[in-house]
Subunit: 168 residues, 2 copies
DNA sequence: ATAAACTTCCAATAATCTTTGAAAGTTTAT
DNA sequence: ATAAACTTTCAAAGATTATTGGAAGTTTAT
């Protein structure tokens, strides 16, 4: 397969996958393109290669910069901004996991915690059942949280990586 | 807070959270209601309590049954179908993780694998960079997959649970 | 101070995903 | 065989989310 074909296919496929991960198609596409690109790209480059509007590309790039998945770059004597992707896969993973934690785990934790507080005075059997369910949910979310932290540590911890390999 | 207030708040909050996990609001709401309900509920009960349409509740229940998150029940001398939630939090977790793996990890694995195959004959530096990126992505996805399997095993494995606690 | 080159914002539009509700289908009791 | 009680389907409507594209804003060189 030709280089450009591979690129196109990956970009398109990643866009589709992205939407099932709660990432907008364009965001996933731009990230995919940049991952495969060795060199920095300008907004124009991306617009042209992916046929997306200026506004959209601008927003997506801002989002990716916020997630620390791409970096802004400038070139001497050139006023344009260029962007280049973080290419270290574990760095990428770390940042995505961090975002997902923020988006998916923390709000759930918060919700359950608040409601759990309001069931302290549970008396009848229904109330106790609710309290019990919320308690279990809370402890489960805590464990997911721990797991997430663990994942974030794997990168820096070769020993841990091996332990995981051993026990799994 | 009153029992019904807690229920309502949990159901509503869970509905909102659900949408940021790629689960439809109604699905998350119905599941939340059933988690807090000690007894089985009929389609009518759910329609009435959550003010959702018959069609919607029917589809959602089917989906939840498919995920093994709720069970169908019948009562002697009653033609209606009733549903009751799986209440074991680790069972619930197992089933959700399994679904997410199916939906999020497997398709990505497949995509990368296919494209990786088509870069075997990489020659110039750009092609090698692409091949390299895809290779790393592939190995990362493998690791996520392993991690998922590990998560699924934690439930049944007290030792593993303790190891995790220890090293995290 | 001006204009050129570029970036950002945001209201309108488009695309996608969810929910409804009525009609069709199925099962069970008589 | 019929009708009552219940479940399922699916096209249309509604809600939400993503994208566009032009206008406003900013920066830099002269």
């Amino acid at each position: 397969m030709k280089t450009d074909e591979v690129k196109t296919q990956f970009v398109q496929a990643w866009g589709v996958l992205g939407t099932s991960w709660g990432i907008s198609r364009s965001t996933a596409q731009v990230h995919a393109l940049m991952l495969l690109s060795k060199t920095e790209l300008s907004t124009e480059d991306i617009m042209q290669q992916l046929q997306l509007s200026r506004g959209n590309v601008n927003m997506v790039l801002r989002e990716l910069v916020n997630w620390n998945l791409i970096y802004k770059q400038t070139k001497p004597g050139d006023r344009k901004e260029y962007f280049i992707a973080e290419h270290d896969i574990w760095q990428i993973a770390t940042r995505i996991i961090t975002e997902r934690k923020k988006r998916e785990i923390m709000p759930a934790k918060q919700t359950v915690k608040v409601l759990l507080n309001s069931t302290n005075d549970a008396k009848d059997s229904e109330q106790l059942h609710i309290k019990n369910t919320l308690t279990e949910l809370h402890s489960f979310i805590e464990q997911m949280d721990t797991m997430t932290e663990l994942l974030l540590k794997v990168e820096k911890n070769a020993l841990l990586k091996n332990v995981l390999k051993m026990i799994s």
